[in-house]
C-alpha cells in the first residue's frame, strides 16, 4: 500500500500530549482530511501510522518524522494539502513525500537525536562560564544516573557514552543548552537525565525548569548523522 513520510512539528498545546494521544490526533486528522487511511486487520484494527521515536510529554519537536499508509495512491502534494489543513493547533506539517514500499521501518533506523533546552538564569552568567561548565561536565570519566528498574529497584547507569555532543550559550538572562544524544533501541539517553546531571554538577544558577525541544531525529551513517528524510 502507498506509504508517505511526514516531517512535522509538535509544539504549542500539542507538546503536552502523550505518544498515544499523538497517534489518535493524527488518525483523526487523516480522517478529517478525507484520506483513505489503511488499518491493520484483526479484531482491533489500528491505523497504519508509524512514528520514528516517541517524544516525552512536554518536549516540543521541531522536526519529527512519521510514516503513514493509505489504501489508494494519491499525489503527495494532495495528501500534504489535505492533511495540513486538518491538523490541530501545534501539529504542523513541514513536508511530505511518498516512500518506496520496500523502505525499512522508520523506528529501526533511528540512532540519535538533537535537542535544545532553555531556562532562565537567576544571576548573570558569562559565555565563558557556561562553556567551561559544559567542558568540565564532559571531561568527567563517567556520568552516572540513577534509574528505577521495572521492579522498582534502583539501577545506576553511565550515560556518558550516549552524549555525542553538547554545548551551552547565554542570551541575556536565558541559558541555552544543546546536545546530540544516542536515541533508539540501543543506548537510549533521555535529555532530561543529561540536564539533571548537568544542573547538579555545574551548579549554574538555573531558575525554574528547562523548556525542552527536540530539534531533529537521525539515522547513523558511520560516525555522522543522516537525515531520516532520506532513509
Amino acid at each position: 500500500m502507498p506509504r508517505y513520510r511526514m516531517m512535522y512539528a509538535k509544539e504549542g498545546p500539542a507538546r503536552y500530549i502523550s505518544h498515544l494521544d499523538l497517534l489518535r490526533a493524527f488518525e483523526r486528522a487523516v480522517r478529517r482530511a478525507g484520506l483513505p487511511l489503511a488499518f491493520t486487520l484483526g479484531f482491533n484494527p489500528h491505523p497504519k501510522i508509524a512514528f520514528a521515536a516517541p517524544l516525552g510529554v512536554g518536549t516540543a519537536g521541531e522536526r519529527e518524522f512519521a510514516d503513514l499508509e493509505l489504501t489508494a495512491n494519491m499525489p503527495p502534494e494532495e495528501v500534504a494539502g489535505a492533511l495540513g489543513r486538518a491538523l490541530p493547533e501545534g501539529l504542523r506539517l513541514i513536508e511530505l513525500r511518498a516512500v518506496a514500499d520496500q523502505a525499512g521501518a522508520l523506528m529501526a533506523a533511528v540512532d540519535r537525536a538533537t535537542y535544545r533546552a532553555e531556562a532562565i538564569l537567576s544571576r548573570p552568567v558569562s559565555a565563558g562560564e557556561a562553556e567551561r561548565a559544559v567542558a568540565a561536565f564532559l571531561s568527567m570519566p563517567q556520568i552516572l544516573v540513577e534509574k528505577k528498574g521495572r521492579r522498582g529497584e534502583k539501577k545506576v547507569r553511565d550515560i556518558k557514552p550516549g552524549i555525542l555532543a553538547m554545548s551551552a550559550r547565554v542570551n541575556d538572562d536565558i541559558i541555552v543548552v544543546e546536545a546530540e544524544l544516542k536515541t533508539g533501541s540501543s543506548g537510549n539517553v533521555r535529555f532530561e537525565e543529561v540536564l539533571d546531571a548537568f544542573r547538579e554538577k555545574s551548579r549554574l544558577p538555573v531558575e525554574g525548569r528547562f523548556s525542552l525541544y527536540r530539534t531533529g531525529v537521525y539515522a547513523a551513517r558511520g560516525k555522522e548523522k543522516k537525515s531520516l528524510w532520506h532513509v
Binding site: 503536552y16 480522517r31 478529517r32 479484531f43
Partner: protein, 613 residues
C-alpha cells in the same frame, strides 16, 4: 516564559489544561459584549465527555455578541501548583482568569461534585457566598439535573436555570445584555433575568422552618417572584441547535467519540430513575436528522466512533434503520458505531451484532435487581428470562464478556433479592460455558451500586438503607460472587450515603458544604479522594445529621425542599407510582399508547414526539 508553561510539565496529564483542541473557539475578547466561562466541576476527561457542554458552547459561540470558554476542576496536583504560585483559575481558550468573565456557569451533573464548585470559586478568587459578591465579580449561574433540587447550593449560586438549556440560554443572555445596557445593579439584573421562564433566583426566596426544624416551604421573599419555577423543555429536537463541530480533545477522555443524541427522555418509568422524570417527555429525532448530524460529526471531528446516545437507545423507533445506514456508510472508513445503553432483550443483541461489525467489546446489561418481585417494585420492565435468553444469544454470537449492573438497598429488598443477583450471575456464567466460550476468556462482571433516593422520583420519600446495612449487603454478595470467570465490584457505600443526603438536602446543607470545602473535600465522586470521616465532621460542625436526610422516610404530606421546582410531573402521580411499587404493581411504558397520567403533557403543553420507524 509564563507561569502556566512552567507549571504544565510538572503535572500529570498536562493536556487537560493546555487548550488548543480542534474546533475550540477563540474569539476576540474585546469584540464581544458578553463573556461566559462554562465550568465543569470535575476533571477535564469527565467534562469533555458531556454533550451538554458541547451544545452550550456551540450555541453561545454561535452568537456574534458573546463568547464561551471552558474551565474544569484542576486535579489536586495542578491545584497545588496553582495555589503555590498564586495562579488563579483560568479558562482554557484565552487563559484568562475566570474572575474576568461576566458569567461563570456551572453544570450540576452529580451531587458529589458540589465540593469542587466551592473549590473552583475559591481558586478563582471569587467569594463563595452569593451575598458577598458585588458587581465586580462574575454572575455565578448553574443548571443541569442537580438544579432540580438546588437548595444545598442556594447560598453559592446567584441564579439557577431549570431544565433544558438550548432556548433559555439565549433568552437569558439577551436579558443579561439588556440589563448591562441599562446599567442595572446586580440585584436589578437578577430581576431582569426573572422574566425568563425557568430561571430560579434563590436569594429572592425564603425558607420557612417549622418548630421541629423541618422545612415548611420555600416561598418568594419579594413581590413579583414566581411561587414555582417550571422546567424548560425543547419541543422539537430536529430544529434544536446541535454541535456539528464539537471540540475534539487531544488527550483521551471518558467517552472519546462523536455523540449523536437520537432522542431525549425515556418512557420506561423506572421508579428510582431521576433522569426518566427530568427529561420527560420523550422526543425522538427523525432518522434523517440523526444521519445528517452523524455525517457532519464524522467530517468535522475525525472520530473513529459514532455513539447513538440517549437514556435507552434500543427504544429509539428508527434505531434499526439508523444503525444499518451508519454501519453501511462508515464501516469502510474504520468508523465504529456504538450504542451505550442496551436493554436485555434479543433485539439488543441483534443491534449489538450489527454495530460491532468493526470492533467487538463487552456487552452491558442493567437488570438492576435480582428477583422478578423486586424488578416489578422498581418497574424495570425486563424479566430474568429475557436476560438469560439475551446473554445466551450474545455468547453464541461470539461475545465472551458480559457486564451486569445491579442496585442494592432498593425499597423492600430482602436477602432473597441479593441471592437472586448471585443466582443470575451464576446462570449467566453457566450459559457462557454451555455456549462454548473458552473458560479462560469467559467473564461475567457484576457491578453493584447503592440505591440513592432522588428528588422528583416515585422513590423520593424512601429511606436509603443505613450505611452499615449497605456494607453488610456488599459483604454478603462478595461472599456469594466468587469463582472463576466472575468479577464483583461495588461502589463506595459511604459515598452513596453522602450523595443521598445532598440529593434530598435543603438549604442548611450549604453550611456543610462550606465546612467540607474548608476540610479539604474535593473530587468526592472519585473514591480515592472521598473521605467519609471528613464529611461526617463537616456535618457535625454544622450541627446536622446526614442520617436525617439520607435514611429517613419522608411523608407524602411533608413539604419537600424542592417543592417549588416543577419538573412537570405531578406529585399525585409520584405518590400513585410509589403506592403501586409497594404493591408490586408494574406500570406500562407510555410509548405503548396508554397514558399513565403523569401530568406532564398538560402541565407543560408538551407532548411525546416519535419518529417514523
Amino acid at each position: 516564559m509564563d507561569v502556566i508553561e512552567q507549571i504544565l510539565p510538572e503535572v500529570q496529564r498536562p493536556a487537560r489544561y493546555a487548550g488548543g483542541e480542534w474546533n475550540s473557539v477563540r474569539k476576540d475578547w474585546d469584540g464581544v459584549d458578553i463573556k461566559v466561562a462554562f465550568a465543569f466541576p470535575d476533571a477535564y476527561e469527565v467534562g469533555m465527555s458531556h454533550l451538554g457542554l458541547q451544545i452550550l458552547y456551540w450555541i453561545v459561540n454561535g452568537r456574534p455578541d458573546a463568547l464561551m470558554e471552558r474551565v474544569f476542576a484542576p486535579w489536586p496536583d495542578m491545584e497545588e501548583e496553582m495555589r503555590s504560585r498564586g495562579l488563579p483559575l483560568f479558562s482554557l481558550e484565552s487563559r484568562r482568569p475566570v474572575r474576568d468573565f461576566d458569567i461563570l456557569a456551572f453544570t450540576l451533573q452529580y451531587e458529589m461534585s458540589f465540593s469542587n464548585i466551592l473549590n473552583m470559586l475559591d481558586l478563582a478568587g471569587i467569594p463563595l457566598m452569593a451575598e458577598q459578591r458585588d458587581e465586580k465579580f462574575p454572575l455565578v449561574i448553574a443548571g443541569g439535573p442537580c438544579a432540580f433540587n438546588p437548595e444545598p447550593l442556594a447560598g453559592f449560586i446567584d441564579l439557577f436555570v431549570i431544565g433544558e438549556g438550548e432556548e433559555v440560554i439565549n433568552e437569558f443572555l439577551d436579558a443579561f445584555l439588556e440589563a448591562k445596557r441599562r446599567g442595572l445593579s446586580r440585584q436589578g439584573l437578577l430581576f431582569e433575568a426573572l422574566k425568563v421562564p425557568g430561571v430560579y433566583v434563590p436569594s429572592l426566596y425564603r425558607v420557612h422552618y417549622g418548630e421541629d426544624g423541618s422545612v415548611l416551604k420555600v416561598a418568594p421573599a419579594v413581590e413579583g417572584v414566581p411561587e414555582r419555577v417550571t422546567k424548560r423543555v425543547v419541543r422539537d429536537l430536529n430544529g434544536a441547535p446541535f454541535p456539528l463541530r464539537p471540540v475534539v480533545p487531544f488527550t483521551e477522555i471518558v467517552h472519546d467519540r462523536a455523540m449523536v443524541e437520537v432522542m431525549r427522555g425515556c418512557t420506561r418509568g423506572c421508579r428510582f430513575c431521576q433522569a426518566g422524570v427530568l427529561y420527560r417527555p420523550v422526543r425522538e429525532k427523525k432518522c434523517e436528522t440523526v444521519l445528517e448530524q452523524a455525517a457532519g460529526l464524522v467530517r468535522n471531528t475525525g472520530y473513529g466512533e459514532i455513539s447513538l446516545t440517549s437514556l435507552s437507545t434500543s427504544d429509539y423507533t428508527p434505531v434499526r434503520r439508523a444503525v444499518k445506514a451508519l454501519v453501511d456508510e462508515y464501516a469502510r472508513q474504520g468508523v465504529n458505531v456504538s450504542l451505550p445503553s442496551l436493554r436485555a432483550d434479543n433485539f439488543s443483541v441483534e443491534l449489538a451484532k450489527e454495530v460491532q461489525r468493526v470492533r467487538r467489546s463487552s456487552l452491558t446489561f442493567a437488570p438492576e435487581a435480582g428477583t422478578q418481585r423486586l424488578r416489578n417494585v422498581i418497574n424495570k420492565g425486563v424479566t430474568g428470562e429475557d436476560l438469560l435468553k439475551t446473554v445466551s444469544a450474545a455468547f453464541r454470537e461470539g461475545w465472551q464478556a458480559v457486564k451486569l449492573y445491579f442496585m442494592i438497598g432498593l425499597p423492600t429488598e430482602t436477602d432473597e433479592d441479593l441471592d437472586g443477583i448471585a443466582g443470575l450471575a451464576g446462570e449467566v456464567l453457566a450459559l457462557g460455558r454451555q455456549a462454548g466460550v473458552p473458560a479462560g476468556r469467559l467473564r461475567v462482571t457484576v457491578s453493584v451500586s447503592s440505591f440513592v433516593p432522588k428528588a422528583h422520583t416515585p422513590f423520593q420519600w424512601e429511606p436509603q438503607a443505613p450505611l452499615p446495612a449497605l456494607k453488610q449487603k456488599q459483604a454478603y454478595l462478595s461472599g456469594k460472587l466468587k469463582g472463576r470467570g466472575l468479577a464483583f465490584n461495588y461502589h463506595d457505600a459511604g459515598l452513596s450515603f453522602i450523595e443521598a443526603a445532598f440529593a434530598r438536602g435543603d438549604r442548611r446543607l450549604g453550611a456543610v458544604l462550606v465546612n467540607a470545602f474548608k476540610l479539604g473535600c474535593k473530587f468526592d465522586g472519585w473514591s480515592e479522594h472521598f473521605s467519609l470521616s471528613r464529611w461526617l465532621e463537616a456535618f457535625r460542625r454544622a450541627g446536622l445529621n446526614p442520617e436525617q436526610y439520607a435514611n429517613r422516610r419522608y411523608g407524602y404530606a411533608e413539604p419537600l425542599p424542592w417543592d417549588h421546582i416543577d419538573s412537570g410531573v405531578s406529585k399525585e402521580y409520584l405518590i400513585l407510582e410509589h403506592r403501586r411499587a409497594m404493591a408490586g404493581l408494574t406500570t406500562l411504558d407510555c410509548r405503548a399508547g396508554s397514558c399513565t397520567g403523569c401530568g406532564l403533557c398538560p402541565a407543560l403543553a408538551a407532548e411525546p414526539v416519535y419518529a417514523e420507524a
